[in-house]
């Protein structure tokens, strides 16, 4: 298979839980070096799309290619940030240890992390502004700090393509700024970022590529072509109130600073 320059290519992907389709015949092409949001209502299959791409849920049909090859051959290229709520933060361990987990694949079975890996993890914590909290028991961190630890854990994997499930959910403003700064840095370094996002207000400010999802893929492409009221109405089934600064609908990209509220 030749490299077609795409970071992520999804062909005819259908995922079903007990014959109930969660994702229907998704086709998606994401070029390298973009910062992409996956946006859609609750139950649209946003998390499932990421999990299917990582082989965490089985596909009923279709194929996911990462840098032109199936995921199983490309594990080393992929970094993953699950939802913060998916783990037990009372687990007896500290921030540095959680970040080190990102290096376990490189370390391999049975072998233990060494000084070099510890330094890499520290550096990564430093990048997200959490170096001072390395020894802190993870339950003592705030929600935003926990999210930054998760981000550091993904960074340390030094991946080419990152999948992030709601990294901005329930974080404070400082953390949100810190995270978006890191994401932009990564994008500018040529990495690809696929981010499940729930806040329509910030989509056009933060991202340059967009997938609108509601079981089916409604739109996929550069933000300027896809973030339109038409597409949003299709995605949210008309349950979106569109409010702009001067009370107008943001018709197809005439304005970029439009404020949107999903009802």
């Amino acid at each position: 298979m030749t490299d077609n320059g795409l970071a992520l290519e999804i062909r005819d992907l259908t995922v079903a839980y007990q014959e109930k389709p969660v994702l229907w015949d998704i086709d998606l092409q994401v070029p390298k070096g973009v910062l992409m949001a996956i946006v859609g209502p609750n139950g649209a299959g946003k998390s499932t799309l990421i999990k299917a791409a990582l082989g965490l849920v089985p596909a009923a049909a279709g194929q996911v290619l990462i840098h032109s090859r199936p995921y199983l051959q490309q594990r080393g290229l992929v970094g993953y940030v699950p939802q913060r709520g998916s783990v037990d933060w009372d687990f007896p361990t500290n921030a540095l240890d959680v970040v080190l987990m990102g290096l376990y694949r490189q370390i391999g079975w049975i072998r233990r992390p060494r000084r070099r890996e510890r330094e890499m993890a520290m550096e990564s914590l430093n990048t997200v502004g959490m170096a001072d909290y390395a020894d802190r028991q993870i339950s003592q961190l705030s929600g935003g700090q926990q999210q930054r630890v998760f981000l550091a854990r993904a960074l340390v994997q030094d991946a080419q393509i990152y999948f992030m499930d709601e990294p901005f959910a329930g974080v404070d403003a400082t953390t949100e700024r810190a995270i978006i700064a890191v994401l932009r840095q990564l994008r500018d370094a040529g990495k690809t970022l696929i981010v499940v996002h729930h806040d329509l207000h910030t989509v056009s400010e933060y991202f340059d590529w967009l997938t609108l999802l509601n079981v089916r893929c409604i739109a996929n492409g550069p933000i300027d072509d896809t973030f339109t009221s038409d597409n949003l109405r299709q995605t949210y089934g008309g349950r979106v109130a569109f409010i702009t600064e001067d009370g107008e609908l943001p018709d197809d990209r005439s304005r970029t600073d439009s404020k949107l509220i999903a009802a």
Partner: protein
């Protein structure tokens, strides 16, 4: 102490330590109930194999029982997979089924086999010294000791070798899967060892109380530390201590050894829940109380800053005045004033209260947030 007593204590300590080591991961995975299910269901394997080998502490017995334990886990996951029942209900459905088949088999053949249901359920440590391992006429000690030691060492090696993988798969199974460390594989490996450990503990505590040793010591350790290695070690120490103390208690009161061991383990947990330094009930209560007093003192300072006249009036008879102004009860007011005095937010000069500069800056800070 007689050598039989020493042997009994040794077996109890080894088995308890081994239970706690593996039980730590059950506690962290919130799967305490699974250990109960496994330890009951293995009865079926033991009974079936007993028809063939006629002894409880033997290799084929352990293998058969382990297979039943893993079968239990598999059946539970099969049921959960149908999405018709939740995991706790699935566990509650599977193990009584397997266990009851075992019980029926024992009662049907009670006349022919020497397998007492009390022994299976509650264990009988006192018999341990009679079933000895002899090779070429050489007495090597009780079979249970060798079985317990082997299982303990297997558990220890497993935890040491796969510490990193166990931690990852327990903390974040989806990352483990994404990184290529199959959480399913690790799960079944762990459950296999739980089964092996349950079987090896049968003679010591029986199938009912083995849960006490697998769950109570790690649960106590969990409350005492924030670090997994410490939790593992502490759990083992607490378990071994419960075994030793339990034996002593049983000896003293002439009561069931297994019952006493489980009781001691339970008591240690109860005490820990109360007095654990960070997570104990008492320290949590104290912490909440301190926060309440601190907050009240901050409220008071803000009140005094906002109402200069209030300080004027309250300065002389603060307790009575504050009762009027803030509707605080007297003892509480006194505590709050004491705290504010300790923090040097308020000072008493010439029989009057005065706000210090530290107090003023507190007020500024508090109103800002």
């Amino acid at each position: 102490m007689s050598s039989a007593q020493i042997e009994i204590i040794l077996v109890a300590v080894v088995v308890a330590a081994s239970c706690s080591l593996i039980g730590t991961f059950l506690v962290l995975r919130k799967m305490a109930l699974m250990s109960d299910a496994i330890s009951h269901a293995v009865l079926l394997g033991i009974v079936v194999m007993f028809f063939f080998v006629r002894s409880t502490a033997s290799v084929p017995m352990v293998l058969a029982a382990t297979a039943t334990g893993v079968l239990t886990v598999y059946l539970v996951e099969l049921l959960v997979g149908t999405r018709l029942v939740k995991e706790d209900a699935a566990i509650g459905l599977v193990f009584p089924a397997l266990f009851s088949i075992g019980v029926i088999l024992i009662s049907r053949h009670a006349a022919n086999i020497h397998l007492d249901i009390d022994v299976v359920l509650l264990g009988e440590l006192a018999f341990v010294p009679f079933d000895r391992l002899t090779i070429a006429g050489l007495d090597l000690g009780p079979k249970s000791l060798w079985l317990g030691l082997s299982v303990g060492i297997i558990n220890l090696i497993f935890v040491l070798l796969f510490y990193k993988e166990l931690k990852l798969a327990t903390f974040d199974p989806s990352l483990a899967a994404a990184l290529g460390f199959s959480p399913t594989l690790i799960h079944y490996a762990l459950m296999t060892l739980v089964s092996v450990t349950a079987v090896s503990s049968f003679e010591v505590v029986g199938s009912v109380l083995v849960v006490g040793l697998m769950i109570a010591p790690p649960a106590s350790a969990y409350l005492l530390t924030d670090r997994l290695p410490v939790m593992l070690g502490l759990g083992v120490l607490i378990a071994a201590g419960s075994a030793g103390l339990g034996y002593a208690t049983a000896y003293l009161f002439d009561s069931s050894i297994s019952g006493s061991m489980a009781t001691v383990a339970g008591l240690i947990l109860a005490v820990t829940v109360l007095v654990a330094p960070e997570r104990g009930l008492i320290s949590r209560w104290l912490r909440r109380r301190r926060q309440r007093i601190r907050f009240a003192a901050e409220t008071l300072i803000v009140h005094l800053v906002n109402h200069a006249d209030a300080l004027e009036v309250a300065g002389k008879h603060p307790v009575g005045q504050l009762k009027k102004q803030l509707k605080w009860r007297e003892p509480f007011t006194q505590e709050v004033l004491h705290f504010a005095g300790q923090q040097k937010w308020l000072v008493e000069r010439n029989g009057r209260l005065h706000l210090t500069s530290a107090g003023s800056s507190v007020a500024a800070r508090v109103t800002e947030r």
